[in-house]
């Protein structure tokens, strides 16, 4: 039996294509609000202009403590992370600048994939034209650890290198970051940790997935039999994780508990998942075992559901293997039609949507799918509209799954109760 340590969630913050803040994100996702549009940064007539994306508001609100010159020098990935962190800290009733150093260490575990690529690709374009006149300031956010450094300096946390990680494991990055933060708390390394991820839209990613021929011009339709591909998005999410006793001692609001985290690798292919989903199944089962829960205890699963043929087929089969025998199989939905695929931020944004589902007893819809056109591999219920889960079917525990390039698999289990 793997170790079981519940960790309290005391704050969360998000910026997504649905809006700034968790309430705006949740309301948009629950209502399946369509926000997809061509990316305004792509010039008219360019082939990528025909591909809809999920973009956050172009003008992001600058936090008061960051002067305009510094704010404008940051990568958009860093800006998104700052806004999400501020909301999470406020909800957790923690000061903006935490007081680490009185014997209390605060961890920081964040994820990204593109880092400062939004600026770097502009440098690359200039460099290509004339290396000597390229603006070197655009290169200053090149290295990915800078996403963590900014948050650590700004909030005066994670001074120890052992508690400051930037995870680059693409689409599972922020789920891994949340898992690492929870392990650090459970193992006594720290009492509080910030964990999440941030990802800005950039040409490299949009063009890259376009070159892989997996982008859906009019938006993704996860788990649909005729799904056309994925939707690229941007966003950020941050959770405040805390030892339950620490949270209770300072009378912090406990939103829910992270009960279990499972993580595995297929070791199968550099981009494609193992179609048999063997390690994806193992990740889900490990998360359940660590949570001391049975498959039947899970009422809702926020699936990775990218809308690509390979991912959704593998995931549908893996979910069926783990949950189909449950007396009341859980509802499954992917929310990527509403948020886009935010890669390094996907795990945390979808974890936040799971926490909101748990709090509101409301299962968000699998937006984009067409009635009667579900993939035959998906044999669990996939709602097209949001569903209230009150009464006897009230949600007690939920799961979020994520899968990534390289065959990386994660599953997070959240519950209302600590045990």
């Amino acid at each position: 039996m793997p170790p079981h340590h519940a960790v309290a969630i005391t704050g969360m913050g998000a910026v997504t294509a649905q809006g700034i803040g968790v309430p705006a994100t949740w309301q948009g996702v629950a209502a399946a609000r369509d926000v997809l549009a061509p990316w305004s940064e792509i010039e008219p007539g360019h082939p990528l202009r025909s591909v809809k994306v999920a973009a956050c508001p172009a003008d992001l609100p600058r936090p008061a403590d960051l002067p305009p010159r510094l704010w404008n020098a940051l990568s958009r990935t860093q800006q998104l992370a700052c806004i999400a962190a501020d909301e999470a800290l406020a909800q957790a009733r923690l000061p903006d600048r935490l007081r680490e150093g009185d014997g209390e260490e605060i961890g920081l575990f964040v994820a990204t994939t593109v880092c400062g690529m939004d600026k770097n690709e502009r440098f690359a374009a200039q460099y290509r034209e004339n290396p000597d006149s390229a603006d070197v300031n655009l290169m200053r956010r090149l290295q990915p650890y800078e996403v963590g450094e900014l948050l650590a300096r700004r909030h005066r946390i994670a001074r120890s290198a052992a508690l400051r990680e930037v995870c680059l494991t693409t689409c599972v990055g922020s789920a891994m970051a949340i898992g690492a933060a929870a392990d650090a708390i459970a193992l006594g390394e720290c009492e509080i940790a910030l964990a999440g991820g941030s990802e800005a839209l950039c040409r490299v990613v949009l063009s890259g997935f376009h070159s892989l021929k997996v982008t859906a011009p009019d938006g993704c339709r996860p788990f649909d039999a005729h799904r056309p591909g994925m939707t690229v998005g941007e966003g950020a999410g941050i959770l405040v994780l805390e030892h339950p006793e620490h949270a209770r001692a300072r009378k912090a609001p406990i939103l829910a508990y992270l009960r279990g985290f499972g993580v595995t690798c297929d070791a199968y292919h550099i981009t494609a998942p193992d179609p048999a989903g063997v390690q994806a199944i193992r990740a889900m089962r490990d998360a359940l075992a660590r949570a001391h829960l049975q498959p039947g205890d899970i009422g809702y699963i926020n699936a990775h559901g990218t809308g690509t043929k390979d991912n959704d087929a593998m995931e549908a089969g893996a979910l069926h293997a783990v949950f189909a025998e449950s007396p009341e199989p859980p509802m499954v939905s992917s929310t990527k039609r509403c948020t886009g695929h935010t890669f390094g931020a996907a795990g945390v944004i979808e974890a936040i949507l799971c926490l909101q589902a748990l709090h509101e007893n409301l299962i968000p819809p699998n937006a984009g799918s067409v009635e009667g056109d579900a993939d035959p591999a998906m044999r669990l219920p996939v709602p097209r509209n949001h569903i209230y889960a009150g009464g006897e079917r009230s949600l007690r525990a939920v799961m979020s799954t994520n899968f990534a390039f390289g065959g990386n698999n994660t599953a997070l289990v959240f519950a209302r109760e600590e045990d």
Binding site: A124, E149, E165, C167, S211
Partner: protein, 241 residues
């Protein structure tokens, strides 16, 4: 908080050290993987696999289930030749289909994927980034966490970096507008190579106490791999036979 790790294998491939056997007199079972065996890999992945192979064979890790072995990969630049190649193909394509192969190889975690596939590692496989001076402490702390949380019996930690003309030029250009302290970091000569260690919950050839053991490993070296290579020299005994 002190954390204890057990080192059961190591490997190094750098400009200065061709294999771990140059640092440790008698490493039983340690095999040097011929370069031609990784010829199909990207340059950075090949370096990582060659260093990892030494740690793998030295620690007899083939006897352990792949599901019980985790992986942590650290790189400051990632596969920069693939990244630059992809950018070039993107600009050339003008919005049509660029190179899908270079795109997937340009992703930081592609090195971890190549290593995981090469050795059949099915435990947690993480790609992490740290400031250079934190790369050893940070990666070993992450490995300790996976072991202590019972997510793996062993963890292979790999630091890898490749030299590329464009990286040198970018580093020089980036350094020109930087603060003096930052300039020192970028202006140093970029190294190329990989360092790998296999750490375990069970006792091995050396013990590592974190964070003290890895602190100060940076020693002015510019990137994670150099820092790790410098640290491995101090962490290993002279003989393990």
């Amino acid at each position: 908080m002190e954390r204890l790790l057990h080192l059961v294998g190591a490997g190094v491939v750098t400009d200065e050290v061709a294999a771990i056997t140059e640092l440790v007199a008698d490493a039983p079972g340690c095999e040097i993987l011929p370069v031609e065996n990784v010829a199909a890999q990207e340059r950075l992945a090949a370096l990582a696999i060659r260093a990892a192979h030494q740690a793998w064979t030295m620690s007899h890790s083939a006897e352990v289930s792949g599901e019980q072995i985790g992986l942590i990969c650290v790189s400051a630049w990632g596969a920069i030749d693939a990244t630059v190649g992809y950018l070039e193909s993107m600009f050339e394509a003008g919005g049509k289909f660029a190179s899908p192969r270079l795109f997937s190889r340009s992703v930081y975690s592609s090195i971890a994927a190549a290593v995981a596939i090469a050795f059949g590692l099915k435990g947690p496989c993480e790609t992490l980034a740290f400031a250079s001076e934190d790369a050893v402490t940070g990666a070993l702390a992450a490995a300790w966490r996976l072991l202590a949380a019972e997510r793996a019996e062993r963890v292979l930690v790999v630091w890898a970096e490749q030299a590329a003309a464009v990286a040198h030029d970018l580093a020089r250009r980036a350094a020109t507008g930087l603060h003096k302290k930052e300039y020192a970091r970028y202006a140093l000569e970029l190294g190329e190579g990989a360092t790998a260690v296999m750490v375990s919950r069970s006792p091995g050839i050396a013990s590592i106490r974190l964070p003290a053991a890895a602190a100060g490993a940076w020693a002015g070296k510019p990137f994670a791999m150099d820092s790790a290579a410098a640290w491995v020299r101090t962490a290993l005994p002279k003989s393990v036979g």
